[in-house]
């Protein structure tokens, strides 16, 4: 049995009076890639954003239940969210590098968290860019604005920025939905290359993508977790009628 990195227990989430997540139970194994799939509005991104408590920015979001990271409930009032978000990185749907230079983007998390000295900074930036397969393309342009990069390069920069602070978990919120197929392939290759080093959770509406990259897949529908299992089992031998209909393309 694998070690469980993240354990979601009886999670309910409300935006105002509307219940968006209903009694979610989900155990995410360490070092693996777990995909969250389901039709739009099923709550998969909402679940993802609960894991680094990004809902704290919305005053009307209420969460109940537990999310255990290495056994500690991160939804507890006393959790230091700044520390939590250092451990749980995130890559967003739309590539969102800061309007700064390429090097400054990667260095940002290192600087604010004081993770390395000034002299180490260059090496750490280079290492992160190498790990995200971007180094070769930007080595001569580190001081150029990150906004001059292509969409796919920007997204890989965002991944470099996230892995620079050496998180334990990385959350991907539909990271390829704004990208062309070639850039998508590069991102997928990158995510698979990071398998084992980080626990990765990826929200995707692209079922082929889930099959290509994910070890485990969770299917969600209308705020509920319908089925969770090994990716192969979910796509080939789903236990639930709903899952079967969804993965075979009958709806969604």
């Amino acid at each position: 049995m694998e070690k469980i990195k993240l354990d979601v227990q009886a999670l309910d989430l409300f935006f105002g009076k509307k219940q968006v997540l209903k009694n979610i139970h989900l155990s995410i194994p360490e070092g693996k890639i777990t995909a969250l799939i389901g039709p739009s509005g099923c709550g998969k991104s909402t679940l993802l954003r609960s894991i680094n408590r990004l809902h704290d920015l919305h005053p009307d979001a209420r969460l109940m239940g537990k999310i255990l990271l290495d056994g500690h409930n991160i939804l507890h009032r006393n959790t230091n969210v700044v520390h939590l978000r250092r451990r749980v990185g995130m890559v967003f749907q739309k590539p969102n590098p800061f309007p700064m230079s390429i090097a400054e983007n990667v260095a940002y998390g290192l600087k604010i968290n004081a993770l390395c000295s000034k002299s180490e900074m260059r090496a750490r930036v280079e290492q992160s860019l190498r790990n995200s397969f971007l180094w070769e393309e930007v080595a001569d342009d580190l001081d150029k604005s990150a906004l001059e990069l292509s969409g796919g390069q920007q997204q890989r920069l965002c991944i470099a920025r996230a892995i620079a602070v050496e998180p334990e978990v990385i959350l991907f919120d539909e990271p390829c939905s704004a990208l062309d197929p070639i850039s998508t392939a590069k991102i997928e290759e990158l995510i698979m290359g990071l398998r084992g080093k980080f626990t990765q959770v990826i929200v995707t509406h692209n079922m082929q993508q889930a099959q290509r990259v994910a070890d485990y897949t969770a299917f969600m529908y209308l705020g509920e977790l319908i089925e969770f299992g090994e990716t192969r089992q979910i796509f080939e031998k789903p236990q639930q009628e709903l899952t079967k209909n969804y993965v075979s393309g009958h709806f969604g």
């Binding site: 990185g89 739309k94 969102n96 800061f98 940002y108 968290n113 920025r161």
Partner: protein, 294 residues
Amino acid sequence: MKSRFFWDTFFNKTLSAAALVSVLTLAGIFLLLLYNGLQAFSTIDIAEFLSAAPWNPAAYDAPVFGIGAMLFSTLIVTFGSMLIAVPLGIGTAAFLSEMASPRLRNLLKPAIEMLAAIPSVVIGFLGIVLVAPGLAQVFDLPNGLNALNGSILLAVMALPTLISVSEDAIHAVPDYYKEASYALGANRWETLLRVTLPACKSGVLAAVMLGLGRALGETMTVLMATGNATAMPHSIFDPVRTITATVAIEMGEVPFRTPHFYSLFACALVLFLITLGVNIAAERLAARLRKKGQ
């Protein structure tokens, strides 16, 4: 069909003419200042005019026209007001946009904008009866009508524009920048200082320049509240007289088409060139910042 075409052309031309009015007005004002202002230098030495020589235009035997002290006064009063207004204004704007609840923001922002509706003569009045005596007491001065008093009042007058425009700029920074910063473990302060404000610096700069323009050109308040001494000030506690105040005080009583009359136009011309320079510099800087951000 013909009448529709006619009306379309008619409105097109009318609107173009309306747009032209403001451009022509600007050009007209500039030419007027230039024409009258330059005539001053047929009798006054331009070096003396810009020097620290005293301003004594009504002297019977040998009038002296030196605006150095007034120019310097204008600059320190304005600079002082920006020293007060810029941190206060950007701080308030950041609070309104990033920290305050939507309810508080909707309450505070109109209230701050209302501050701009107070006539400058009222601010000057408050300066005389409230701020100046306060300054005199705090700093133990014979009276508080001095450069610092003017700076404080001008800061109050520049604040509404400064806050309102920079709040708009800060608020327009997309959420995805802030989310990316939070997701990397930044707190609100770090996000504001390192991501949000740098992302909208051209907008904030525009706000500062608008406030600066307001402070540079303000007349009534400084006329009432700074003591109106034409001597060169040695500290911010000295009474001063700005260029605007000088023109306002003397223009009504000056004999027509005398060197004194033309010298006041030259004063206005200097002021106009300063504000024009500030605006052009701001425009360039903002354009460069925008380009760098892209």
